[in-house]
Symmetry: C2
Subunit: 414 residues, 2 copies
């Protein structure tokens, strides 16, 4: 049954000393429906207008003047003197009153049920991790947005901005006691200290699914298949959303032609990921600063504009891994029955330094929203932490853009 059924939408459950029997929101029958309209319009305010509302409401939140050490108490904020406190959550964070919690529960239940259907086991990690886990040198946006501080024991810690480094840490810790391949999923809150523009929040929940120990493209194919299954369950179709797929090996093969050192690879990917966000001249300047020749840059940008696998094969030749793996993925997509959902797009590189192979992102076909989800292969992450590498791929899927997709889908059908 729907978690949004009338009994749950009632503003108040009737009070009774006798327990009220409510059907579980997590009953397991597949559901094919979208978020009902009245629910979405209530949500729209919460999800879209939140940032702007809060930026005015809570800008006076930082009332303690001291630039003191974290861990130390601020100069006695006095609540007993009955000053009315700021009743908003801290800037960029959310409360979940019952009406919002129902949406979150509905979404998380679908994340969980799809993950379990595909045979993944749930895991979690600390929200607070050592800062060192997230510090990479490739110039990622994520590093500048770290919610980090020093705890009372003088440890540098950070609220996790993503889940994958914690997964890598745990896999190294468990070592040989884990049998591969392992298939894990997690739903965890992540934090980024962003400037509060564009309606973005500073925390979001992220659904991750990861497969470790499988070097074959079947792993990527299964991950995308899981996300497609999730979309179908909540009534989102291939006319609403799709996946853009590419491989970092495309870039790698181009860079190799121009004898660009391997250790620049991550850095170049991060620059390229910003192509749609900053002017192209700035991109060229940054690439040039890493040591790439102008010729290499032009060739790179040329290749990045390719939207057809046939065209890519013409340019790179059929011998390389990039083309072979992408062809394999499209062939598997056909067999799995979701080829309508995916398309090749060389411009997709993703913003995290550690991807090494196929990368993908979910997008709305109206082109109005940020990426719905993103992922790829990261076969060499574990060795950056001093562990033995294990073939790995996974994705992250946030709890914010998907709600906008549902709203847009409902509007589209009106």
């Amino acid at each position: 049954m729907s978690p949004l059924s009338s009994s749950l939408l009632n503003p108040r459950l009737s009070f009774s000393l006798k327990p009220l029997f409510l059907f579980s929101q997590s009953s397991f029958a597949p559901r094919k429906f979208q978020i009902p309209r009245q629910f979405v319009s209530a949500k729209r305010k919460t999800f879209s207008a939140l940032a702007s509302e809060q930026s005015s409401a809570t800008d006076n939140g930082g009332r303690s003047g001291g630039g003191g050490r974290s861990g130390a108490l601020s100069p006695s904020p006095v609540v007993e003197e009955v000053q009315r406190i700021d009743v908003n959550p801290p800037k960029g964070t959310r409360d979940f009153p019952p009406e919002d919690m129902r949406l979150r529960t509905w979404l998380f239940n679908h994340f969980r049920e799809v993950s379990r259907l595909f045979g993944f086991e749930e895991v979690d990690y600390p929200v607070l991790e050592s800062e060192v886990l997230f510090i990479r040198k490739a110039g990622e946006e994520i590093r500048d947005q770290l919610y980090c501080f020093e705890d009372r024991g003088n440890r540098r810690v950070a609220l996790r901005p993503e889940l994958t480094p914690s997964l890598a840490r745990l896999v190294i810790q468990k070592g040989k006691s884990l049998s591969l391949p392992l298939k894990w999923f997690a739903i965890g809150q992540c934090w980024r200290y962003e400037r509060m523009t564009r309606g973005r929040r500073r925390e979001h929940y992220q659904w991750n699914m990861d497969i470790l120990g499988l070097p074959e493209v079947t792993a990527e194919a299964e991950l995308i298949s899981s996300i497609v299954a999730f979309f179908k369950r909540i009534g989102i179709t291939e006319s609403d959303v799709g996946f853009k797929v590419s491989s970092r090996k495309v870039l790698q093969e181009v860079l190799r032609c121009y004898s660009v050192p391997e250790n620049l690879f991550g850095k170049v990917c991060i620059i390229i990921d910003k192509i749609e966000k900053i002017p192209i001249d700035e991109i060229k300047r940054e690439l040039n600063a890493t040591g790439l020749s102008e010729e290499a840059i032009e060739e790179l940008l040329q290749v990045l504009s390719i939207k057809s696998l046939t065209k890519l094969e013409e340019i790179l030749g059929g011998a390389g891994e990039a083309v072979a793996e992408l062809k394999e993925l499209f062939s598997l997509a056909e067999k799995f029955g979701y080829s309508e959902w995916i398309q090749f797009d060389a411009s997709v590189v993703r913003g995290l330094a550690y991807y090494t192979g196929i990368v993908f992102e979910g997008f709305d076909r109206q082109g109005k929203l940020r990426a719905i989800c993103g992922g790829g292969r990261y076969d060499r992450l574990l060795s950056t932490f001093g562990g033995d590498d294990v073939p790995a791929c996974g994705f992250g899927f946030g709890d914010a853009v998907i709600v906008e997709v549902c709203e847009a889908s409902i509007e589209g059908h009106q």
Copy 2:
């Protein structure tokens, strides 16, 4: 079905491109079983030995020397140079690999299902709150253990040590749009920066249920009834655990006899809560320092030793609210069928400053463990934040001691 069924206990789910259909762990049929033995013995290491293992393993975690401002990056910890990182989670925190996550899911599902059976709606609040929300002047342990820091916008923030102040904040924010009585539950992670002794961690999950808008003792009676229902579902009986119940109004009436000012009440309660933790002479000294006469202190300690409601009535008389409300609660417990579970014990005051009436805590009958859960009435919390007061009561129930109770219960039946 059991969430610990054989398919889930398999160390590895078989890998397949075809989705594996697993029954949901959250199916709704009532379950009457305890955690199977092999599961508990696997858990014992994780839950009990964690702190001591970690205190040696991760004491070198604070490797960044800079005492710099929070928010600033530490002087470049270099992970790309392939130093092996510390693979343990930060001191006092936990990973949840699949085997631990299954226990967490099992526990949380019971929390959720019991809460919904009793007609409570789920809510949540930010993990990161304004520090001011948790700063009270009564000398609570919780204040000294705040995981607080200054964010990049110079706001004093804290990882929440408990959920009730956030509930109060949200209720004030929502104001008249909420219809009373409201019945909310939450399951959230809470943080306390404790010295890592006695096997305690720095984070735990806490199940809260709260009723706002009901001044009658029926609210307390329903909360205890919910916890009893939870215990029964997981196979814990009244021979394993019980509830000690008292009322802060007992203390209040004694203090009133000695003309102790009302504003000292919270402080006195916090001191008394430490009776079993620090020497009695120290308690007397602290009480004396607040201005209580030696006579008042002796009378107070005398009253606190009472374990029978009849005896209490003899001493305080039958006219006061304390005795009347407690008698009402015991009468309701009889009607609800859980009178075997509860007993009067005047020594129970609980460690939070904001309780105003009936207080209770769950305890193991072997007397080996800390309190399993605790709660009470807090009718005047909202006005300390500048809001209008609303009759309120609730409880917190951690995810740690209950696991020890299950272990002890299994051992008891061997």
